[in-house]
Homo-oligomer: 264 residues x 2
Amino acid sequence: MLELGEIPESHPRRASLLARKKLVEASDAGLLADSAMIAHGRGEAFDYLLGEMTSDSASRAIKHASKMLVSAKSPVISVNGNTVVLAGKELIRLAAVVGCPIEVNLYYRTSERVSGLIGVLEDLKSEVLSEEAPEGFNEDWFSSVSSVEILGDEEDGRIEGLEGPRSICSSNGIESSDVILVPLEDGDRCEALVSLGKKVIAIDLNPLSRTARAATVTIVDEVLRASKKLVSDALLIDEDVHDWDNEAALREALEIMGSAMSRV
Amino acid sequence: MLELGEIPESHPRRASLLARKKLVEASDAGLLADSAMIAHGRGEAFDYLLGEMTSDSASRAIKHASKMLVSAKSPVISVNGNTVVLAGKELIRLAAVVGCPIEVNLYYRTSERVSGLIGVLEDLKSEVLSEEAPEGFNEDWFSSVSSVEILGDEEDGRIEGLEGPRSICSSNGIESSDVILVPLEDGDRCEALVSLGKKVIAIDLNPLSRTARAATVTIVDEVLRASKKLVSDALLIDEDVHDWDNEAALREALEIMGSAMSRV
């Protein structure tokens, strides 16, 4: 394993090592729950079996999910600590393209972490404001990014079916949404959101997790790779949304991971 | 995910959640490197694909490894932070049965962590002293446990082929050993030890890792389960050591993980 401080540009696993470095720093800054690093490690293992690239099956899930987001009435992107650290900037770009808010919503909720992560997202939003619009985006980028709301500390909504701090959400975010993109979500909460009739798009590297199985559309891919592709796909003008067979997509992901044995 | 504080006795994944809890506590106590939790998470994912149980293939590797340890001239058990936290007590029992030292040897070496982990092992050794001998052990348990040396702060040996702090070891431990049990080892170091002509037994849940591929015998199993079985197998009087096909064992592990897809 490389020291996290110095990762050569040429290293074949640079993206993975950089992600790890960012998480260690965020953990030291108190932005992550105890189990966040372990959860990331689980993801690393599944991504390793995927060959650390977006499969054709995941590409189809991303395309489908992007159509769901752009055609939704009240879409929202719900983020936790790992998601903000790994893909916060790309998800602000996605929110600007889709025209939806981002809600910081934590399973192990503390007000310190919620406000810390909102701060990180506000900083990232300032950076995105001064960057170029993604290719194919024809509206005013500055005003689209400016109008991305960062929600999470309102605590004025509830997720029915959950107890205690885990049920807290924003009324203008998750509570009133019809389509939710929730990368790296917990299984309980994914099931609760689905049972409220919401369409849930999960990004989860474990095709066997409860989240992966409960979601309407599961993108079995690393969150940063998937988020980048969601931005570009959301800008494509093409076909309608078709039916989606999520179980088939999970099987495909598992078959790819299973075939990793031929790499020995 | 459950809160780490309260894990019901009946929980189907109690062992996994307890392991996680112990690691979080050790990390808070400064005993683990930054990347330790991530490494554990990777292991969790592979163990999940194994069905969280010791496979027949891993059982054979454990039996073979136990014979190598008892028939070695100078065996040693090399441990890092995660190993001490997850299986320290079982490995002291194994060292007492085999009659070998345990060496704390860290890839990201700091003298604080080395002495902290030696302290943890000394405490566990006191506990093991007052416990019953494993079934089939016919010598004096108290004196066998008492004579287990905990090495690691001597710094009087070197692993040739490695640079800087990573090359430091104990002359009475790793340096003079012919057979080394190294659970959760780094790839670089595993390769260096093998190229010095030592027989290396790795315990690694990732059958694709460099460590798994470089080791003489790779036990693809969770470290606590494997350590318990190493103790009981080391006490069996049976067949000679046969040839070992490590690549075949790795293929078997991958096939089991690959077949996890049928669980969806």
